[in-house]
Amino acid sequence: MIDWIPTYRLRSALSILLWGIANSAYGQIGVYMETEEFLAAAFPNSEPRIDVIWIDNDRREVLEDILEHPVNALRMSYWISGDKSAWILDEIGKDKPITIGVVVQGDVIEMIRVLVFREIRGWEVRHPFFTDQFLNARLADREQQEVRLDRSIDGITGATLSVDALRGVAEVVLFLVQELGSSNE
């Protein structure tokens, strides 16, 4: 056995481990923000209504260009009050969907939150030290062919795919908000 660790210490460590597993909190692991909590933070002074945007072929083409994979959604629902909208989308990071909430005021991101994170690695993307990079981000240039943020988002080693998922969802939401504006003009 580990000759530099007395046996009683090893037993103690194992006992603490088993006690920890047995007594760990029974809340839902991986859920960092509930929908109601997210909406309350997004719309503190108003009651948003729910609306939908249909994903026609033109919009689907743009979404697939942003995300670099096929998009199957026919429509997307969102909450809206005035010129502020809130969206909740699932995008896969490495192999599991990350549930991401995005709030857009006008045409800029006011808030982005990881509501549910299920991956084994890449947890960093759920913390403000990473998500704060998206605050006040908007689309770079409406005349460009490619839909991209107006800033670079610094990645995290070992979390590249999770970072890409958040960046992609941010761009998708800003594009759809832009589409809502266009259809109302």
């Binding site: 056995m1 580990i2 000759d3 530099w4 481990l17 920890g20 597993i21 760990s24 909190a25 839902q28 692991i29 991986g30 859920v31 960092y32 929908t35 729910i50 939908v52 979404l63 995300l67 670099e68 994979h69 096929p70 998009v71 199957n72 959604a73 997307m76 629902s77 909740i88 989308l89 699932d90 995008e91 896969i92 490495k94 192999d95 599991k96 969907p97 549930t99 509501l115 299920r118 084994i120 690695r121 947890w123 960093e124 913390h127 403000p128 030290f129 990473f130 704060d132 990079q133 670079s152 988002i153 610094d154 990645g155 995290i156 080693t157 070992g158 590249t160 890409d164 992609g168 969802v169």
Partner: protein, 400 residues
């Protein structure tokens, strides 16, 4: 005659009026039926919308951007890389001209519930495995993770050790160069996995930590591979477990673009054999990755200190190396890099300086074509006379 014409005219007029009236009535009926159908469809649409909207209020109404089998909690991923090496050594007999499907890897993961999940990595190296063949089939990861809370989890099974840059994240689309850096081969023997258990934790401030007990090395103490760390990996294949090891790491990623980490590992007997002149070993590894826009700088140091009469006599008691790699992501598609390494391992084969520079072309964020030129100079003059090389490498890699 005139009366007859007038009568005929009125008769035709009355008949036409009757037909027109009948047609108008018919069109009206059709329109009414269509309107009825529209009303029914509208009611159904409204009901559907009401249902979906009601559902979205009470549940997480998330739109899945990528299709996923909702009935299954099992997911599959993978990566692979093929390399062409064209390296000219001082002694032409040691030239390397080869094409190799270096790694073919499949990931399998499964969520038992929100608390317990499984992750695995199955690899075929060098395309062909078997007796006398160049490759191997290896299980590089197979562990169960139990989330104790949102901040702390325990992993149990076969896992890659938390050391270095590439050991945990070795998908070829994430690094520059056709071949991996040499430090994380000779000094940190990536990919390096062991069996055991480790705690993993993270904080909102961007600090994370690992602490694990696991199987240890079985290093040779004699022969051409004596004290070479890489040759001591047991790969959890009927591994001798007389002496375990401990690995601890702290990592800070609290500032976007900055990744700083340090690992300490203790091997109570790196040969798992008492009295052979190799008593214990300590590994210290530290690295930094700094990214600012398109610019990135990677730097890594790793060093072993071994105790024991045999390892000291072989002058292999201190093994270390470092590398530094600046890179520039010119666009979404192109990136360039340069890497300088200095390796001081156990034997002359692991003692050299290497310089490599090249380019990555990303056809897709998960598909990359690579090209680099490399130069290696061995420290010992006898080695330099034959094995020093210059050359180029071409590679293609993917992940999904």
């Amino acid at each position: 005659m005139q009366r007859l014409i007038v009568l005929l005219f009125f008769s035709i007029g009355a008949l036409s009026f009757n037909v027109v009236a009948q047609e108008a009535e018919s069109v009206e009926e059709v329109l009414q039926r269509q309107q009825d159908q529209i009303d029914v469809l509208q009611e159904q649409l409204d009901a559907t919308t009401d249902f979906l909207e009601a559902r979205s209020v009470t549940q997480l109404d998330r739109t899945q951007l990528r299709e996923r089998d909702a009935s299954s909690q099992t997911s599959i991923g993978g990566y692979g890389e093929i390399h062409y090496n064209n390296l000219d050594a001082n002694d032409s007999a040691k030239d390397i001209d080869k094409l190799d499907f270096h790694r073919f890897v499949l990931f399998f993961a499964h969520e038992f519930n929100d608390r317990i999940s499984f992750f695995s990595e199955l690899e075929v190296e060098h395309s062909l495995a078997g007796e006398g063949k160049p490759g191997e089939v290896e299980i590089e990861q197979a562990f169960v993770q139990v989330n104790l809370s949102n901040e702390v989890a325990i992993q149990s099974g076969l896992f890659v050790l938390p050391v270095g840059i590439l050991n945990e994240t070795h998908e070829p689309t994430t690094f520059y160069g056709v071949e991996r850096n040499a430090i994380e081969s000779a000094i940190v023997p990536a990919t390096w996995w062991e069996g055991g258990a480790q705690f993993v934790g993270n904080t909102a401030a961007g600090l994370s930590w690992n602490a694990g007990f696991h199987s240890g090395l079985e290093m040779y103490t004699s022969g051409s591979n004596a004290f070479r760390v890489r040759k001591g990996r047991q790969k959890v294949a009927n591994a001798i477990a007389k002496d375990f090891a401990f690995t601890g790491r702290v990592r800070y990623t609290g500032i976007p673009g900055l990744d700083v980490a340090a690992t300490w590992q203790y091997q109570s007997d790196p040969s798992n054999k008492a009295g052979d002149g190799l008593d214990d070993g300590t590994l210290i590894e530290a690295h930094m990755i700094y990214t600012s826009g398109p610019f990135q700088l990677r730097a890594l140091y790793a060093g072993w200190e071994f105790s024991g009469t045999a390892v000291k006599a072989a002058k292999a008691d201190s093994q270390k190396g470092f590398y530094i790699e600046p890179s520039w992501r010119i666009s979404d598609k192109w990136g360039i890099f340069a890497r300088m390494e200095d390796v001081d391992g156990a034997v002359s084969l692991d003692q050299f300086e290497e310089f490599r520079t090249g380019v990555n072309y990303y056809a897709h964020s998960n598909v990359v074509f690579k090209f680099d030129i490399a130069n290696r100079s061995y420290d010992l003059a006898s080695k330099a006379s034959s094995s020093d090389f210059d050359g180029f490498n071409i590679g293609m890699a993917y992940q999904f």
